[in-house]
C-alpha cells in the first residue's frame, strides 16, 4: 500500500460530501458509546472502533455515532445507547462486546427490532 498523506483527504471529500450532508441533517439513528473513565477502562474505545467500522463497511449514512460520559452504571460498562427517530425512548445496551455491536446493528439499527436480551431493562415500573 502506498503511503497516504493528509492531502489525500481531498479525494474522499466529494464522495463524502453528498452522504455527509444527509448525515448532518437529522440522522435516522444515533448510537452513543459511553466514554467515562469506567467505560474506557471496560473497553469502550474498542466498542467505538467496532461501531465505526460497521457503520463504514455497511455504508450506513443515516447513522450518527457519538460518545457521552458515565451514566452512573459503571458495573454495566461498556454501554451503548441507541436512539431512532421512530421510537419513543432511547435503548441502553449493557456489557457490550464487538459481537453484540453486530447483532444490535443487524436487528435494532437496520430493522427496528430492539435486542431485548442485551438491553438494561425493558419497560419501567408501573404504579397503580
Amino acid at each position: 500500500m502506498s503511503k497516504i498523506t493528509i492531502d489525500d483527504l481531498a479525494k474522499i471529500r466529494e464522495q463524502t460530501r453528498r452522504q455527509t450532508t444527509l448525515r448532518q441533517g437529522a440522522g435516522r439513528v444515533k448510537m452513543t458509546v459511553h466514554m467515562g473513565t469506567c467505560g474506557i477502562a471496560a473497553g469502550a474505545r474498542d466498542i467505538m472502533t467496532a461501531v465505526l467500522k460497521e457503520v463504514e463497511t455497511r455504508g450506513l449514512h443515516d447513522v450518527i455515532v457519538t460518545n457521552s460520559g458515565c451514566a452512573g452504571l459503571c458495573s454495566q460498562e461498556p454501554m451503548l445507547t441507541v436512539e431512532t427517530v421512530d421510537e419513543p425512548a432511547p435503548v441502553k445496551y449493557v456489557l457490550i462486546t464487538q459481537e453484540k455491536v453486530k447483532k444490535i446493528i443487524d436487528s435494532h439499527v437496520l430493522q427496528g427490532n430492539v435486542v431485548k436480551e442485551f438491553a438494561l431493562a425493558v419497560g419501567s415500573e408501573r404504579t397503580r
Binding site: I4, A10, I12, T16, A41, E56, V65, C74
Partner: protein, 182 residues
C-alpha cells in the same frame, strides 16, 4: 487502564466535559534523558486552587452520577509507578494543563498503546473541537491537527465514517513509521 493511550482518552474527555474547544495532546519520548512526557492542555473552564488540590483524591468529583472520580488518580498512580509524577496546572476561566512524566525505560512504565484509536474516538465524539496531536520520539514526529483536516475536507463534518477511517489509517501508518525509528 492498560496503556497510556487510554489514560489520554480519559483525560481529554475531562477537557471536553469542561467545555474545551481546543485540546492539545503531546507525547514526547526522549531516550537520552530517559523520559516520557505526556501533556494534555485545554481551554476548558479550568479549576481553582482548591479543586486542583482535590483532583487527585479519588473521592472527589464534580459529577453527580457517581461519587468517585478516578481519571486523574489513575494517571497519577501510573506515573508514580514508573518513577514519574503528575502535575496539574489549571486556572479558572483559562484552562487546564495535565502533565505526566515517566521514566521511559522503567519496567512498570505502561506502553503508549493505540493513539490512532484514541484520537479517532475523540474526533468522533466531538467533531467540532479542535484537536492538535503531536508525538515526538528522539527527533522524529507524528502530528495531526483537526483544523488542517477541516480545511482539507472543506465543509464536510469530521465525523463521517469515511473521514474517521482515513484519520485512523493515517495515524496508524505514521505511528508505525515512528516506531521504526526507535
Amino acid at each position: 487502564m492498560e496503556d497510556l493511550s487510554l489514560h489520554i482518552l480519559d483525560i481529554a474527555e475531562n477537557s471536553i466535559n469542561a467545555g474545551a474547544t481546543n485540546i492539545e495532546i503531546t507525547i514526547d519520548e526522549d531516550s537520552k534523558q530517559d523520559v516520557l512526557k505526556l501533556e494534555i492542555a485545554d481551554n476548558g473552564s479550568g479549576m481553582d486552587a482548591t479543586s486542583v488540590e482535590k483532583a487527585l483524591d479519588p473521592f472527589y468529583t464534580t459529577r453527580t452520577t457517581r461519587r468517585v472520580g478516578l481519571g486523574l488518580p489513575f494517571l497519577d498512580e501510573a506515573a508514580r509507578a514508573a518513577n514519574g509524577r503528575l502535575e496539574i496546572d489549571s486556572h479558572l476561566g483559562v484552562g487546564t494543563k495535565v502533565i505526566a512524566t515517566f521514566q521511559l525505560s522503567h519496567i512498570d512504565r505502561k506502553p503508549i498503546g493505540n493513539m490512532a484509536d484514541t484520537i479517532t474516538t475523540l474526533i468522533a465524539g466531538r467533531p467540532e473541537v479542535d484537536i492538535t496531536y503531536r508525538h515526538g520520539r528522539d527527533g522524529h514526529t507524528v502530528s495531526l491537527s483537526t483544523k488542517e483536516i477541516r480545511r482539507q475536507v472543506d465543509g464536510v463534518s469530521l465525523n463521517s465514517a469515511e473521514t474517521l477511517s482515513f484519520i485512523r489509517q493515517y495515524l496508524e501508518q505514521e505511528e508505525h513509521s515512528l516506531e521504526q525509528h526507535g
